[in-house]
Symmetry: C2
Subunit: 148 residues, 2 copies
Amino acid sequence: MPYSNFASMPCTLSRPAALLGERWTLLLLRQIFLGTRRFEDFQATMDISRSVLTDRLNVLLQENVLKRVPYHEDGRTRHEYRLTEKGRDLYPVLMALRTWGEKWMAPDEEETFQLHHRDCGGGVRAKVECTECAAELTARDVEVTARP
Amino acid sequence: MPYSNFASMPCTLSRPAALLGERWTLLLLRQIFLGTRRFEDFQATMDISRSVLTDRLNVLLQENVLKRVPYHEDGRTRHEYRLTEKGRDLYPVLMALRTWGEKWMAPDEEETFQLHHRDCGGGVRAKVECTECAAELTARDVEVTARP
DNA sequence: TAGCTGAGTTCGAAAATCGAACGCAAGGGA
DNA sequence: TCCCTTGCGTTCGATTTTCGAACTCAGCTA
């Protein structure tokens, strides 16, 4: 099975993993959540090659993670890439990466940005919880049942 | 900046994103969380090329996400790949992917596996919360502060 | 001694990525 | 009108990755 077939497997974990597991895609999403919207800005801040950037943006458009939105600047019509609701829902994925990075990869120096809850100023962290009893869960608390 | 340099950026989001954003790495972790431990089994269930599998496993070993553990079978000593504590801590990342997949990519048919809290049988979901007030957060509730 | 098995390694072909140049449409200014 | 600039891609040849099949090697086993 080639890599791309995981994108069509009937598994709700392998399909997102195959989509976001392509090179640059997670870094692109990070940039989008940090506020970057335009082709030129992605290219400049990430130093990704233009052809690959085009490809990744198109994949995310096709998957309905991003949408192209027209806007006006100097009286000209341009387009920018924005998250859809589906795209915004990827926030927990990025936050889970960051929570892990904070714990296990924190560099000695300062970070490049900080996150705060607008209402109370608190920090942000990702966690896994039980939909019934609301307990916080680790891998050991969860049982996997194969469906044959 | 080539892709690999993101792995050494002083950013607790871009470093994990660059590590897990390499092709096959997320799918490999999925397989590990589902219980696969041995080279041959990874190769068979994922149909990844052997040389790339070797490379990805070595990267995860170097990053201390996996460890090689000896075991005995038929009186022979072999090795298997197991999660370290750092690796197990990636569980929220995988669960965030799955929670997203359940909502936005659920296939019409059944899934390949189900997850249940051992204690109460409930489902599993990832979420983002405030470390102060414990409110559940979305991207809109969070303010990004750049550190220059 | 020969064969099998798990775990890689090697190597030529194919695919993905890179970087630099090119294309193009919409203004703006002369 | 003609030329210049900007934003947003596209194209193309060179370099890296990935692929897939064959090969290696060590430790049993028959």
